[in-house]
Amino acid sequence: MDRDAAEEVEISPRPGPLTLPSPQRERVRGGGPGRARAVMRRYIARQLVQFLVVILGISILAFAILHVLGDPVLLLLPQNAGKEEFERYRHLLGLDRPLYVQYWKFLSNAVVGNFGKSWYADTPAFRLVLERMPPTIYLTFAGLVVALLISLPLGILAALKRHSWVDNLCTTVAVAGQATPLFWLGIMMIIVFSVRLKLLPASGYDSWENFLMPSFCLGATLAPITMRLVRSGVIEVMNMDFIKTARAKGVAESRVVIKHAFRNACIPVITVIGLQFGQLLGGAIITETVFAWPGVATLTVESIRNQDFPVVQCAVILLALVIVSVNLIVDLAVAFIDPRIRTGA
């Protein structure tokens, strides 16, 4: 493995299809399309099981956070309520039952979308969160687009012109970019583009112009890491034997790059996209608060400030659900494209 490539690969922040420990290792035996389909089905099944386990784990985590770390009754009642009031409410909310009974009740309710009513808005928490999901999802995707638009060309360029001034510049900008706090960048952009230049709206959610600054902000924060991952992915591919073979065969360089390298670099790139979705959503949380974006993140922050726990719980679970689903789709897509992954070989 080339030393330089090894230097640049970042810690992957999320498990991919290659890292879940499996008790047995499967080997591809023989061939035939039936066999391949069976392998694929088994892979999908494994991924779905993993998906369910993670969802369950998240629900336990969300439940634990409220019921184990905090005390809902303490938060509901006035401070000078008597002990009997506390006991009565505890019984009313079912909090005197054993934890696993409470958890089961919570889970069975959650599955049908009943997270209780928001303690301040008097509407079901689920509806509130669902209403605010689309702006967040749109923003996340827009940020993803921007991140890719920046990092793909630059990453590939840096990989191809490795160690040149282009590469060094990209790396420097990437390191600087990683150190910039996202909310700081957002505030500066609003001042420059809205207040001083009067080019773009400072907040709100009306038309495509509102998307420009937040998505750029979000994408720009993710671009450095993505760029480095793309760069090392491409370097890795470029060093593979089949590239050298193609060159030795006398294939034109551009053809080598486009046809062979790019196509195979797709895999690490798509995996990168999948890996970054969770990070993007995290970044979207920050971006939303700066740009007054009417999404789930601002709802969550408000609800935390108002101690409105049903909403916080629901938002956390639904967001996690989205991330896990996207991860699953990416995993399946990658497996579809690269058969080697399905077998865990």
């Binding site: 009642l77 006035p78 401070q79 000078n80 301040y120 808005a121 509407t123 509130l128 209403e131 689309p134 702006p135 999802i137 749109y138 923003l139 995707f141 827009a142 993803l144 687009v145 890719l148 609003i190 001042i191 809205s194 207040v195 009067k198 709206p201 400072a202 907040s203 709100g204 959610y205 009306d206 038309s207 495509w208 998307f211 998505s215 196509r263 797709c266 895999i267 798509i270 007054a292 009417p294 709802l299 408000e302 400030r305 108002n306 101690q307 409105d308 897509a333 579809f336 494209i337």
Partner: protein, 512 residues
């Protein structure tokens, strides 16, 4: 090849999804854009104590009487005239040919239904305290209503400006829940759309009986951060913002895009001290501690340096513009030695710790900075406050209502725009009211006396006595009467309203 196709398709989907515009923006010329920092909890004005509800209520509903902004006097609105037949009976004649937004004609039955709903204790509406002196409402004929009051009620006419008229048909057929989100009024605008916590969209009522609004649409945007509101104002995204912090006025005035307008307003700020012990046992139940709190703070300095002079110091909770204000009572002057002495007498020679519930500067500009200065002053006297920040006014007021605040909490009161001491005494300082943490039987007696006689001279004396009482008792930490500061875009003409109600229908585009 599969990879490239899959990738390309995914990108297209993503791009497409990301660029769908969520709502078509209205053209700017016919739309007035107004910013609120915090959203209302409902569109049922009697069911809310928030200033935002009052403002929105004025634009969609009408009241029986209305204040003339220039003279300050109360004049006709949905009621054309009124007279008291005797000490406890008022007869009101209504305006003919007025329709609700749903086409129903307005008449005496609607007045009766509105008041009865508000006065019914089972409905638990927050406006009940405002009109508690009204015993009954009778329909004489379609355009005449008779009110019977519980003893003489001097504020009857003033209070007519504080109750919106709602439709009897809606109350009867649709019920309370529906009314929370669907306001049917007789006012200059109707509600077209409400995206909770995001925006309200109003459309002009072309059948309005009064002056026709200049702007066909009003967009009320909820923008929680003041920094964002100001950025939007100077970049043309919003036309009117309120509660501008005094130290940001120069930014707006120098922008070339907008200007600030100011006016003294009825809203009076204070920090409530839990004398009544509603939130539990606490140091503020001791008069000496409360006095120490008042002696520790340098309110004049704070007004001068933090608010740039834009406030009027009050000795009590009564605003200088309100009837009954007694200018002879001098406010507490900062005296740290006295404060420490009082604390020692009360049993706190080394000072004490106390919780302090704080909120956002939604109606009180510069709140965070003034409270920071107050906290620092208190610390100098040994009173160490532990702050608890609550993000929105709705939840803040709910905590107060439900006896769950800290022993000290920020509070301000807009008097429901009624220029009378009773408008603050009753709701904010008498025993047992949801937003009052002061309980003093002698004071309550004075308040009831004040609202039971029609003799203005006698009332002034009673209120002077009441003010001296709460001043000496250091009922709360007294602050000041606010000056409202609005930021107004240069494309519209708008004057600062002294009753703190933003009337969208009088805003006109500026002549070029």
């Amino acid at each position: 090849m599969r990879c490239v196709i899959a990738f390309g398709l995914a990108m297209l989907v993503v791009l497409g999804a990301g660029l769908v515009p969520p709502a078509a923006a209205q053209t700017k010329d016919d739309t007035l854009v107004y910013a609120l920092q915090s959203d209302v909890q409902n569109w049922d004005p009697p069911n809310s104590v928030l200033r935002e509800s009052i403002i929105l209520g004025y634009n969609v509903f009408d009241h029986l009487a209305a204040r003339d902004l220039k003279t300050g006097k109360v004049g006709p609105s949905l009621a054309l005239s009124w007279k008291n037949l005797d000490d406890t009976t008022w007869e009101v004649k209504l305006r003919p040919n007025v329709k609700f937004h749903d086409g129903t004609p307005f008449g005496a039955k609607d007045v009766k239904a509105t008041f009865e709903r508000v006065l019914n204790p089972e409905n638990k509406l927050t406006a009940r305290g405002n009109h508690a002196k009204i015993k009954s409402v009778e329909v004489v004929d379609d355009l005449t209503v008779r009110f019977k009051t519980d003893g003489p009620y001097p504020l009857f006419v003033e209070r007519l400006t504080a109750q919106v008229m709602q439709s009897e048909k809606v109350i009867r057929e649709k019920g309370h829940e529906w009314m929370q989100e669907n306001p049917i009024g007789t006012g200059p605008y109707k509600l077209v759309r409400w995206n909770k916590k995001q925006e309200h969209f109003l459309q002009r009522n072309d059948d309005y009986w009064g002056p026709k609004p200049a702007f066909k649409y009003v967009r009320i945007r909820i923008i929680p951060e003041q920094a964002t509101q100001i950025a939007e104002l100077v970049s043309g995204g919003v036309d009117i913002i309120k509660a501008v912090p005094p130290d940001q006025m120069d930014v707006i005035n120098k922008s070339g895009q907008a200007r600030t307008v100011t006016s003294p307003i009825l809203r009076t700020a204070m920090i409530q001290l839990d004398q009544a012990g509603r939130s539990g046992p606490n140091p503020m139940t001791d008069k000496r501690v409360r006095q120490a709190v008042n002696y520790a703070t340098d309110m004049d300095g704070i007004i001068k340096h933090v608010l740039n002079g834009l406030a009027d110091r009050t000795a009590t909770t009564v605003n200088p513009m309100a009837f009954g204000y007694d200018p002879s009572i001098k406010p507490y002057k900062q005296d740290l030695a006295q404060a420490k002495k009082l604390l020692a007498e009360a049993g706190y020679p080394n000072g004490l710790e106390v919780g302090f519930m704080r909120g956002q500067p939604i109606v009180e500009p510069g709140l965070i900075q003034t409270s920071d200065a107050i906290v620092a002053d208190l610390a100098k006297a040994g009173i160490r406050t532990k702050a608890r920040m609550i993000g929105e006014t709705g939840p803040f007021t709910n905590l107060v209502r439900d006896s769950k605040p800290d022993p000290m909490f920020e509070w301000s009161w807009g008097y429901y725009s009624i220029f009378d001491a009773d408008a603050i005494f009753y709701d904010v300082m008498t025993c047992g009211q949801p937003y009052s943490y002061y309980c003093n039987k002698a004071f309550d007696d004075l308040v009831f006396q004040g609202r039971s006689t029609l003799d203005t001279k006698k009332r002034a004396e009673i209120y002077a006595k009441a003010q001296r009482m709460i001043h000496d008792d250091a009922a709360y930490l007294f602050k000041w009467g606010l000056r409202g500061v609005w930021g107004v875009s240069n494309r519209v003409d708008y004057d600062a309203p002294r009753d703190e109600v933003d009337r969208m229908w009088i805003v006109t585009p500026r002549k070029k």
